[in-house]
Amino acid sequence: MLELLFAARWSPYLAGAGIGLLVCLAFLLSNRPIGCSTAFLKARGMLGGLVSPERVESMEYYQRFAPTVDWQFMIVPGAIIGGFIASLLSGTFGLELVPTFWADRFGESVVLRWAVGLAGGILLGFGSRWAGGCTSGHGISGNLQLSLASMLAAAGFFIGGILVSLAIFGIPDGRGVWGLV
């Protein structure tokens, strides 16, 4: 059992089952679905509040999601810490400027990568709030409640993601499902 704590990778089924139990625990003890995009919104509201608190307070969306340090906010700093602990224990922590998968195709240019990645991050933030949640809030916490809103959102996440990835990287020949067709 103890080796598991230090192993770099677990079976995806085991990691997923752990997340499923975690979501149940959050429902039981906190009466909330685990989601991550709200925390980024709250952080954005807090940053905006440093410049102009009146403006943030007057905005309807921040009245629905108050920009405060609370349960919902703490999920993201927690996940950063959890990711750090996991990679330290397995010895896989390491600074990575450009993802290897990207560099293999488009080179080591940090400017190109971050420009494309930043556009992705903006769309991710905008789309997650538009859809009312992200891969964790809708994709896992919502779908396990058999929520139709979450099923629609998850369909959008993957249809959009698959189309864009195929457009960027091309169809990978002979790998995965492409080897079956």
Binding site: L22, L29, I122, G125, V164, G176
Partner: protein
Amino acid sequence: MTTIQGIRNNRSLQTGLGLLFGILFGFLLVRGGATEHEVIWGQLLLYDFTVLKIMLSAVLVGMIGFHLLRSLGLVELHVATPSLGSNLVGGLIFGLGFGLLGLCPGTVAGAIGRGSVDALVAGAIGLLIGTGLFARLYPRISRGIARAGPLPWKTVPELLGNVNPWIVVVPAAIAILGLFWVLETLGL
């Protein structure tokens, strides 16, 4: 029940629990491999099914656990009112970003923890800009396109005529297990 209510109403305890749940979530995301760009892109290019296996295992275990707790009266539903204009359109916009970044909001956090500067600079800053942009446009979007194509049911059991949720949970669990079997048989 009173102790659970006490825990739920204790705000500082809840803030601590949020941190704890976040830590466990980030840990599990890294252990599953979901915070690696190549794993996410491998899923979106349909040759590495790690992400789907993680998500559906979480849904399988969570769905059974949640409905057990719900049958015991310990938890309640937390679901949104669905509409095509909100969930599907927003989901597609999210998907464009998912493909460009190779991470999603939760895995951005986990990836920052394992040392991805890309997740911090492109991911987290992009998310802050994008969520802020939505906050600014929210009054217009929420009264406009987000209301288009509403669905009259919130959950699958409701869609089927308010059936007992277990009538959906059991076949859904079997279908997920069947899909895992297919993925493993095909070597995906």
